[in-house]
């Protein structure tokens, strides 16, 4: 009996030990190849190490890397990881000066941080170097200027090129909006026609109107599950910041006012948060655990009639394999209170200061911004950087294309100052607190403002962001 007991005990111990062991991943190294030929083949034999977020456009890029290798003889080792991991891996690589990467993808709001720490290098020297203009189809002036500035320019110098750009717009159930019974019922109840909302009061009315219980009728059919007016991203996550800033900007508030002073807790910002909080009653329960992933699922399942969403989620709505609403969606710019607002979100590709092959990396960036590559990315569900690709009539048949084009023109970026990361942390926490009822909107935003004053001590007003 005792031996038995000892055996079990030792198994348990070993199991516990095995579970505590942590495996460490190894780093990667870069081998620099020498110039191997003329023209596009100038850097043949070089291997570039690149890291980017695991996203549809990145997948599309990966598929095309063979073409790049064929054209230039440069091999690209592309590592893909989820959002948080990418930033962490890069930070550690920069800090340890390992030169592990030749091209890194980072969200543009990190730009100030990356530049001020000299982690990335300006692209001008490469852009001016005639000998690097080896990609024939590349035309600098084709890049959408506003997008390029937002994602790559810091204090008059260009550091990166846009990649995986996306924008927040309104996605809605076109089939429900077009339904005659629903239209009549809406007019009866609210006294005006059911149409795509252009202001936030209409948006709220429609959200309320489409919120139904299981067993109720919707567009003539009996619901087998609850239906909601909107889908809201309220997790303590970047998604919450992204969504709420739309309301804040549209209501006339925001992070900073025009003079660069803190505006996060002014009356307009507070009103925007009160509005958003009120809206959550028409969203599927569990708002505080929703990010863009869960929001996409809610729309795909057809349980939300409208959403303020990133346009790079739209391909998933239109995917007949995973979505019951494929072909039934409509897209438009956001409703307006004081002004138009559309949150621009993007990753950019940068060349780290410690890259071992910056020239070859620049050649890659040139190739990345050629129409062929960008068009393929658009076809696969991403969004291009080039005017010519946006104008390409072949892409007009994509359901979310027209709205995306319109919204890019009116988009706004969030601050890109080095402190933004910590500022965002404070904002995410309080947004989550407010949505879960732990704090009142005013109280939460006051706490954020207090934190901002601490973080930006001595730097206010912020004149460049």
């Amino acid at each position: 009996m005792k031996a038995w007991a000892k055996k079990i005990f030792s198994i348990a111990l070993i199991a516990a030990m095995a579970l505590t062991l942590v495996a460490c991943g190894g780093g990667s190294s870069s081998d620099g190849g020498e110039g191997g030929g003329e023209g596009a083949k100038k850097y043949a034999g070089t291997t570039l190490y690149m890291i980017a977020e695991q996203q549809t456009p990145t997948e599309s890029l990966k598929k095309q890397l063979g073409d790049f290798e064929e054209l230039t003889g440069i091999k690209v080792e592309l590592e893909m990881a989820p959002f948080d991991d990418v930033v962490q891996k890069e930070t550690l690589a920069f800090e340890s000066k390992s030169g592990a990467y030749d091209i890194v993808a980072a969200p543009y709001q990190f730009l100030g941080n990356l530049v001020e720490n000299e982690y990335i290098q300006p692209l001008e020297p490469f852009m001016e170097d005639e000998s690097l203009a080896v990609i024939e189809d590349y035309d600098e002036s084709d890049l959408i200027e506003g997008m390029w500035k937002a994602s790559g320019e810091w204090k008059d110098k260009i550091y990166g090129v846009p990649a995986n750009s996306c924008i927040m717009f309104m996605a809605y159930r076109q089939d429900l909006f077009d339904n005659e019974d629903e239209k009549a019922a809406f007019k009866d109840k609210y006294g005006y026609e059911l149409a795509v909302p252009t202001d936030w009061d209409q948006y709220r009315d429609i959200a309320e109107f489409f919120t139904r219980k299981k067993g109720d009728k919707l567009a003539g059919e009996t619901l087998d599950k609850d239906m909601y007016g909107v889908s809201i991203m309220g997790k303590r996550h970047d998604a919450a910041t992204c969504e709420w800033l739309n309301y804040a900007w549209s209501f006339g508030g925001g992070v900073f006012d025009d003079e660069g002073n803190i505006a996060i807790n002014n009356d307009k910002s507070v009103k925007a948060l009160e509005y958003w909080k009120d809206l959550t009653q028409f969203a599927p329960p569990g708002v505080t655990s929703v990010t863009w992933d869960e929001q996409t699922t809610q729309i795909q399942q057809g349980i939300a009639a409208m959403a303020i969403a990133f346009n790079d989620c739209a391909p998933a709505y239109e995917d007949p394999d995973g979505s019951v609403v494929a072909g039934k969606m409509g897209y438009a710019k956001l409703p307006v209170k004081e002004k138009d607002a559309a949150h621009y979100g993007a990753w950019s590709y940068f060349i780290p200061t410690d890259s071992k092959n910056p020239e070859a990396a620049y050649v890659f960036l040139e190739w990345f911004n050629t129409p062929k590559v960008q068009k393929q990315i658009a076809i696969d569900g991403g969004f291009p950087n080039l005017t010519s690709v946006y104008e390409d009539p072949e892409l007009d048949k994509i359901p979310y294309w027209e709205a995306s084009k319109e919204v890019y023109a009116i988009s706004t970026t969030r601050p890109r100052i080095p402190e933004w990361n910590s500022m965002n942390e404070a904002l995410m926490l309080q947004l989550s607190n407010v949505l879960s009822g732990k704090a009142e909107p005013k109280e939460g935003l006051d706490a954020v403002a207090k934190e901002y004053e601490k973080l930006l001590d001595g730097q206010l007003p912020i004149t460049y962001q």
């Binding site: 079990i8 720490n117 000299e118 569990g286 607190n433």
Partner: protein
């Protein structure tokens, strides 16, 4: 002469055998610890160029004791630790008693209880997040189909989020406690039970006066081990709630993680780690006293 040589041989042999462990431990634990200690006296933030060499003395520690979020997360950690360990002990004992009284295929059942422990904590977090999803989760479906008076939006409010985080840990570790207790049960000499039965004790009396007291050392060790582990909880709440809603389930390791790898305040995070180290070290000392002879000497 010969004997002496043998002795030195023993010593060199011992040194040789211990050296690899010693070196490994030094490299993977002592060096980072000292580096973290050094870092905690600086003001190293990645968002602030040139902050790496800014010596600030005890500023990080002073700040720590004025940081409401730190105390919030410390509080959450203790709440989590307290309830998780208590339920693990209770369920563990019940499980051990049940396993002990299985007449046949005991081995099979014992192995089966190991399964939750073998699942990576991250996977458990994912499992529970699917399970409790307010729209698609199996749990939600059960509650709605049977019209149970239970909440479905578990991660949406502070109380239930903590409950589900505790349940995840209990699900994972109660079987382990069961195994440890089973080992304890089986090491109790059967003669005690026989003697008690001859004296006419009923099973409840036997449990209270024989089983529990004789199990005490095993239980103390198991509780201490689990307490240390729960103090370091990270993966499961990270996946399921991300510390939310708000900071309702932000245990101390999550808070440290956010400071270090989201806000990139490495020095401040190091200071927290040093405090954590001191707390865990104290636990470790108690643990050692308990296991190495009850601390009577």
């Amino acid at each position: 002469m010969k004997r002496r040589k043998k002795l030195t041989n023993h010593t060199t042999l011992a040194v040789r055998f211990h050296l690899p462990t010693f070196i490994t431990l030094t490299v993977i634990t002592l060096v980072p610890l000292i580096y973290a200690l050094r870092l905690s006296f600086y003001d190293f933030k990645l968002s602030d160029a040139g902050s790496k060499d800014r010596f600030v003395g005890l500023k990080n520690y002073v700040h720590l004791f004025h940081d409401a979020d730190f105390f919030n997360s410390a509080g959450k950690t203790f709440i989590f630790m307290f309830f998780a360990v208590i339920f693990e002990v209770i369920i563990g004992i019940l499980l051990a008693l049940a396993l002990n009284s299985i007449p046949k295929v005991k081995r099979l059942f014992t192995s089966m209880t190991l399964i939750p422990m073998m699942v990576a904590p991250l996977v458990i977090g994912l499992m529970f997040s699917f399970y409790t999803n307010p729209q698609l989760g199996l749990y939600t479906w059960i509650v709605q189909t049977l019209h149970l008076p239970l909440p479905t939006n578990l991660t949406g409010d502070s109380f239930h989020a903590m409950v589900i985080v505790v349940i995840m840990d209990v699900w994972e570790w109660a079987p382990y406690m069961g195994l440890v207790f089973l080992a304890g049960l089986q090491s109790i000499d059967g003669e005690y039970y026989e003697a008690a039965r001859v004296d006419g004790a009923n099973s409840r009396q036997i449990f209270r006066t024989i089983t529990l007291p004789l199990m005490r050392p095993v239980m103390t060790v198991a509780i201490l081990l689990r307490a240390m582990e729960t103090f370091k909880e990270f993966d499961k709440p990270y996946i399921l709630t991300g510390g939310g809603p708000g900071n309702a389930t932000e245990v101390i390791d999550l808070y440290t993680y956010r400071q270090a790898f989201v806000q990139f305040k490495f020095s401040y995070a190091s200071a927290i780690c040093i405090i954590l180290f001191i707390v865990l070290f104290t636990f470790g000392m108690i643990y050692q006293r308990v296991t190495m002879g009850g601390g009577r000497d």
